[in-house]
């Protein structure tokens, strides 16, 4: 190893730690905003250029499923499923005037800001996207994001002037208080490294079954209640475990999102601990 090589290696190592610290202190935010501004047209162009090839390759690896048709049908299915789930949710909630009032207070009028997805995290461990709306458009950290079919997509975790990062519900760091619509059993829906969703902390006695809808519960104040997350795909229950492990299929087609809606009318709350 030459002195020049050693110098470069040391420089990169030091730069890595300096950049990590800078990122932690949000010093890099303006640079990232400018970089996304400059590169997003190129990224969008390249993305649309390679999308047909990617769809073709992904179709082969997905046993020949027709991607476009699949996407269209998923969107249609998502919309109809959401309508059904919302109708059921309304029916259930109307049974209790108290619950209904609570929901109205939390989720008065939906005001959405439509945004385009301009970049995606390309690491295999995280699930983050960037959208072309930022703090300048009224987007704030903590706001929730839904798909065009109104299923939960994720949360705004970082905002720049013109862009925001959305941590998807499938991200390993995501956790959403949720409720099974039919049985009203609650739990926490978390993301996983393989892109799946798991609902934890569902009691052994809870009557949950495959096909049930899972919606946000509103517990904790970070999400409004009644937003559809997905449907139960599998339930694992053993006598030794305290809780059932419930696998959930998300309704929104998260890997192919092109446009999302930021729910700007909902302000997430941080609940204070009791005295």
């Amino acid at each position: 190893m030459t002195a020049r090589t050693l110098a470069w290696t040391s420089f990169i190592a030091i730069a890595a730690f300096v950049l990590m610290a800078a990122n932690r202190l949000t010093v890099l935010d303006p640079v990232e905003n400018v970089t996304l501004n400059v590169t997003s047209p190129m990224q969008t162009g390249l993305s649309s250029l390679t999308r047909p090839v990617a769809d073709w390759v992904n179709n082969i690896t997905d046993a020949g499923a027709l991607s476009d048709e699949n996407r269209r049908l998923r969107e249609e299915n998502e919309r109809l499923t959401n309508e059904l789930a919302r109708a059921r949710e309304e029916a259930i909630q109307q049974q209790s005037a108290e619950d209904l009032n609570a929901v109205k207070q939390q989720f008065p009028d939906d005001v959405f800001l439509a945004s385009n997805v301009v970049s995606r995290d390309s690491s295999n461990a995280r699930a983050i996207i960037a959208i072309d709306s930022g703090s300048g458009d009224g987007v704030r950290e903590g706001m929730i994001v839904v798909s065009e079919g109104r299923s939960l997509v994720g949360t705004v975790t970082k905002t720049f002037d013109d862009y925001s990062w959305i941590t998807l519900i499938t991200d390993p760091k995501s956790a959403v208080s949720a409720i099974v619509q039919e049985s009203r059993s609650d739990g926490v829906v978390s993301g996983n490294y393989d892109g799946s969703l798991v609902m934890d902390f569902v009691g052994q006695g809870a009557a949950v079954k495959v096909g049930d809808f899972v919606t946000t519960s509103g517990v904790g104040g970070r999400y409004p209640s009644g937003i559809v997350i997905g449907r139960i795909a599998d339930v694992q229950k053993t006598d030794q475990d305290l809780f059932q492990k419930v696998h959930v299929d998300h309704l929104a087609s998260l890997s192919k999102l092109e446009r999302v809606l930021v729910l700007t009318s909902f302000e997430p709350r941080t609940l204070e601990k009791p005295e």
């Binding site: 190893m1 030459t2 020049r4 090589t5 470069w8 290696t9 420089f11 990169i12 190592a13 730069a15 890595a16 730690f17 300096v18 950049l19 990590m20 610290a21 800078a22 990122n23 890099l28 640079v31 990232e32 970089t35 996304l36 590169t39 190129m42 990224q43 969008t44 390249l46 993305s47 250029l49 390679t50 999308r51 990617a54 390759v57 992904n58 690896t61 970049s119 995606r120 995290d121 390309s122 690491s123 295999n124 461990a125 995280r126 983050i128 996207i129 960037a130 990062w165 991200d171 390993p172 760091k173 978390s190 996983n192 490294y193 393989d194 892109g195 890997s255």
Partner: protein, 169 residues
């Protein structure tokens, strides 16, 4: 090779990786063309040429790829360590060397990415580390290795003129 040429190539590749390559899902993961390219470049051109590219690629990819640039640089840094293996000539076939280094560098890259999530509280228990290794780290290494021969074949044209005529498969 002039630094600006390498920097331009690295910048463009980082954009391509962030905007296009992430759309391809094989075994549930996206290939890391940037990493494979840097390793192939290391074998073909040497450590002195690849390090400036690694820096530009890492920072650019961090800025446009929604991961902290420092973490990306740290994850790519083992490539410099693997460069020593090239200098030692422990493997005489460049193609086999590329495949071995891509496998090692991919494992290191994905492990650092997984570690960064763990460090910031993204892992809720030991079983999740297993899931991370099974679902992201190992498949990514396999997919990158599958891509390596094709990238190396193209990279051979970037070999210095006096070595270009030599067969080194």
């Amino acid at each position: 090779m002039r630094y600006w040429t390498g920097a331009a190539i690295a910048f463009f590749l980082a954009i391509v990786q962030a905007s296009s390559v992430e759309q391809f899902k094989i075994l549930g993961v996206s290939p890391n063309l940037l990493l494979v390219f840097l390793v192939a470049w290391l074998v073909v051109r040497g450590l002195d040429d690849v390090l400036p590219m690694l820096f530009v690629a890492g920072v650019t990819f961090g800025l446009v790829g929604l991961q902290p640039p420092g973490v990306i640089l740290l994850a790519l840094l083992p490539i410099a360590g693997f460069g020593v293996l090239r200098e030692l000539h422990v493997v005489h076939s460049d193609l086999i060397l590329v495949v071995l280094l891509v496998f090692g560098a991919s494992l290191m890259y994905e492990t650092v990415m997984l570690g960064s999530i763990m460090a910031t509280g993204g892992v809720r228990g030991v079983p999740e580390i297993g899931t991370g290794l099974r679902a992201a780290v190992v498949p990514a290494a396999i997919v990158n290795v599958a891509l390596a021969p094709a990238v190396y074949f193209v990279m051979r044209f970037a070999r210095p003129a006096q070595r270009r005529g030599q067969l080194s498969f």
